[in-house]
């Protein structure tokens, strides 16, 4: 069953009187009990999608979508209170920059305790409820791999290192036992060991608690190890999405192909001292977006038609938007 369904999500930002489409017809679905990876270069709008789903966008930005639904309920038309209730219990978000996402003037302890949902707290009196909150927090903090909980919990966010802040963010997100976890680059800046622990925790929660995860990252290795399906984003457009295995075996969009080729560990038959493959150029800025397929100027297979936006086509739940996909011989 599909829990989060996004169809043709468009986000427009006004800049100097011109509306810029920062996200252009993005489609994304998350099945129950699925780990979906959202991949793209920096600046491709991954975080914008996360913020559009969680409703953390500035009010002057215009969000339109054919569908943006949570279990059939329309998230855009919903009142603030309804949306808050869903965010409180069902969807949890881990933001990209943990230092900025934590209140600098409040102790980590206070921020952790207030995230514990009321339903989990036992006891009648204030001190009992406080103790209950504290023990729940301690448990979850241990789980995400903070060794010296007592030491860290009484500090301000700027007094601990960034990865501990990140772990606190993860703990705050997981403490409400959500159905869907939206993790925006959750392992950024962590050392490999802790990264592995966190990813293992996510996978375990996915298997034991039926937690669905939208995993936003550019770490292709981690993604291929844990994700069931993947959506590739380029410059605010979804270029391809499908099952992880199918996408690895046979990417259909030139951008996905380039992305896979750029990770050496994905090409076992790579010869020593051979050139690494990468697309020419860089991702365009929001002020200079190409028309049609935005990969156009960088695409090795681009042709005349590419100034038109390609329609979405799909083969066995593997959808792509390209005039000249990889399985069609170029003209």
């Amino acid at each position: 069953m599909i829990i989060l369904d996004i169809k043709n999500l468009t986000l427009e930002i006004e800049s100097n009187g011109v509306l810029i489409k920062a996200l252009d017809k993005v489609s994304l679905t998350i099945q129950e009990n699925e780990i979906r990876a959202l991949v793209g270069e920096s600046g491709s709008g991954k975080s914008l999608i996360v913020r559009a789903i969680s409703g953390a966008l500035p009010p002057q930005w215009i969000v339109t979508a054919d569908r943006l639904t949570w279990r059939g309920q329309n998230l855009i038309k919903m009142t603030r209170a309804q949306r808050q209730a869903i965010m409180r219990r069902d969807i949890a978000v881990i933001f990209q920059d943990p230092m900025a996402a934590l209140d600098p003037s409040a102790k980590l302890k206070d921020q952790m305790l207030e995230s514990v949902p009321r339903e989990f707290i036992e006891g009648r009196y204030a001190w009992q409820r406080y103790a209950s909150r504290l023990s729940i927090s301690h448990k979850i903090l241990h789980k995400v791999g903070i060794q010296h909980v007592e030491e860290c919990i009484n500090k301000y966010p700027h007094e601990v290192s960034a990865d501990i802040c990140q772990k606190f963010m993860i703990a705050m997100a997981l403490v409400s036992q959500p159905t869907l976890l939206i993790a925006d680059d959750p392992t950024r800046g962590m050392e490999t060991n802790t990264k592995k622990q966190i990813l293992a925790l996510f996978t375990r929660l996915n298997k034991t608690r039926n937690l669905s995860i939208l995993f936003v990252s550019h770490d292709l290795l981690a993604i291929s190890a844990m994700a069931h399906s993947m959506t590739v984003l380029y410059c605010g457009q979804t270029v391809e999405s499908g099952k992880m295995k199918a996408m690895r075996r046979r990417p259909l969009h030139p951008y996905t192909k380039a992305l896979m080729d750029s990770a050496p560990s994905f090409s076992p038959d790579l010869k020593p001292k051979s050139m690494l493959v990468a697309l020419d150029g860089t991702i365009p800025t929001l002020q200079h977006l190409p028309i049609g397929c935005r990969l156009g100027p960088r695409c090795p297979r681009a042709a005349k038609e590419c100034v038109q936006m390609p329609t979405e086509r799909s083969i066995n739940q593997h959808t792509y938007r390209c005039h000249y996909p990889m399985h069609v011989e170029p003209v």
Binding site: Q84, R88, D103, A106, H158, G189
Partner: protein, 340 residues
């Protein structure tokens, strides 16, 4: 914490030292004999002043004696009246302080909550109303506002008295110099009437001073609240689904007020200037009125002492406010260590 205290103490001390040097230098810039300019008379029979005026000293020793005289409360005498300045100033200073304190209190009590209201409704109707009206208030020259108030409320409507602190009918013995306190502790008949009368006298000057201060406080608070609401941590608290009340009291309030305090400290000097102008217009017997009189009369010792005293008060209040805002800010040493 102790480091912060020591740092601010040093800063205050150095600033005060420079102020004292300046005031000492003033005597040399004024026309006439510097020693007479300093003391206000040719001969005074207090110990430091005798040393100061003796022929054998050099300028450094003179400065040292001058500091001693200042600390001993020997501030010289006025050219105009020949009375010791210390007594004059100690009689007048409380009146000024009283006026400033009431004005600041009113501006704070109204300005900060309304600033929060405007900030929470950023770029909405209520915010626009507050912003435009505070812009108008901010643009009023204080002397013109005071004259306008006198014209409309005292002369035309005759609701409130236009000058002084208290009607001449009442004779309140001097106790602390704060008129309301004095009336409360004084053992006089008609205490109630005297109190009402003093309050009536206070309303117009307080209003004219607090007018601009209110506008500044409102705008500062509103800006700060709007900034905090934009931040990632408020957004992330909202996405965690915390109730709006929790977000406001736990996260918005403190973060918005922390940067407001140092900005208020900067406003103190503007406020003191406004108080002095208002005092002159309302004939409020405070230090500002007195100082401006001294300037008219070229009363050099009074100018020097008045300037020194007003600046010392401003420096001390500003520094202590800044020091307090440093001490209560938990993020103060955020940049003390290099960040990752």
């Amino acid at each position: 914490m102790i480091r912060t205290l020591i740092r601010y103490f040093n800063l205050t001390f150095l600033t005060l030292l420079i102020l004292v040097m300046l005031s000492f230098g003033l005597a040399y810039f004024f026309p006439g004999d510097p020693i007479t300019n300093l003391m206000g008379a040719n001969k005074l029979d207090s110990q430091p002043f005798l040393m100061l005026s003796s022929q054998q000293t050099n300028i450094f020793m003179q400065f040292w004696y001058y500091v001693q005289a200042l600390l001993a409360g020997e501030w010289g005498v006025s050219f105009a009246t020949g009375k010791p300045l210390y007594q004059d100033i100690m009689r007048l200073l409380p009146a000024t302080l009283e006026l400033s304190i009431y004005a600041v209190t009113i501006a704070l009590i109204l300005g900060i909550p309304l600033g929060f209201l405007a900030g929470m409704n950023y770029h909405k109707k209520i915010d626009n109303i507050f912003m435009s009206s505070s812009m108008i208030m901010y643009s009023f020259p204080v002397f013109w506002l005071a004259l306008l108030l006198i014209l409309l409320i005292s002369l035309q409507a005759q609701w409130l008295p236009m000058s002084g602190r208290l009607s001449l009918l009442f004779n309140v013995p001097h106790y602390s110099g704060f008129i309301l306190v004095d009336i409360l502790v004084a053992d006089i008949e008609n205490k109630r009437f005297a109190f009402n009368n003093a309050v009536q006298h206070l309303i117009l000057p307080t209003l004219s001073v607090s007018f601009i201060a209110f506008a500044v406080f409102l705008r500062t608070t509103r800006r700060s609240v709007a900034d905090v609401l934009e931040t990632q941590y408020i957004k992330s608290a909202q996405t965690r689904g915390l109730p709006a009340k929790t977000i406001f009291f736990r996260h918005v309030l403190r973060n918005a007020l922390l940067p407001v305090l140092p900005i208020l400290a900067v406003q103190i000097s503007t406020l003191v200037t406004n108080v002095m102008i208002v005092e002159t217009i309302f004939s409020w017997p405070g230090i500002g009125d007195w100082l401006i009189q001294a300037i008219y009369e070229r009363d050099y010792p009074a100018i020097r002492t008045g300037m020194l005293l007003v600046s010392v008060v401003v420096v001390i209040i500003t520094m202590s406010l800044e020091c307090i805002s440093q001490l209560i800010d938990p993020t103060r040493d955020r940049f003390a260590y290099a960040r990752r």
